[in-house]
Amino acid sequence: MKAVTKAYRPISWPMKGAGGDTGTWRTHRPVVDIQKCTKCQICWIYCPEAVIDREESIVDYRYCKGCGVCAAECPTGAISMVKEE
């Protein structure tokens, strides 16, 4: 049966930035000292925002909310939270 109207439902589609460019929420940004980094992936798995690259420990600042969980959990102290100016 062909529908007569377009199925007009309140539909949403998956996309990054569903909450906006959440990087603007940051007051502090995580900065990775790649020298200290052992690539243990701990920051990657705990980051609630999925913005840390698993292999390279690079942060996607467009969406990183600056929560500081990564810095708090990094076993080598490779991540420091730096105040956004």
Binding site: G19, G20, T22, T24, W25, R26, T27, K65
Partner: protein
Amino acid sequence: MLELRINGFGGQGSVTLAHLLAQAALENGEQGQALPFFGVERRGAPVRAAVRMSPTTIHAHSQCELPDYVVVMSEKLIEEAVSEGITATGTVIINAPHAVAVGKHPTWQVDAEAIAREAGLFSADGLFINIPLFGAVCRVLNIPQKVMEQTILNKWPGSNGELNLGAARRAYNTVTQVEDSGFNMKVGCW
């Protein structure tokens, strides 16, 4: 009826600022109204609040679409604030470390951040810039300093109030009207 809009970021204390202004109106023997716009946004997102003052009962309940005054809590919000509407001759009160002119609008500037920092008004993740802004706005609206101070003391009786009082008083007295109110392309980004 005087209408004022506050444009800020979530976490900057715009709701408290709106409440203080409405309370100051009452303290000043007028009617006051503070009407924050509530969104689902978390902290960091742009937020708005409306304030009205009037000698007679306020019937309006809409957001202020064409306010007489706009309080801009961060320079980053100038574009947004102006594009949301303001009367042609509307006044802007802005938190900025330096003189900023917003379009052709009479503009007042106060360095709320510096004042808050000096007063030691630290919040969970920043500064209570709403307190100095309250002082500044009262000044611009010609609300007597006494009324402004009493409003703060009503809200924070005790030592907390004293701290806030100092900052608000300071802002009340340092907020300054920006000279060049010509359309200034350097400011904002439109």
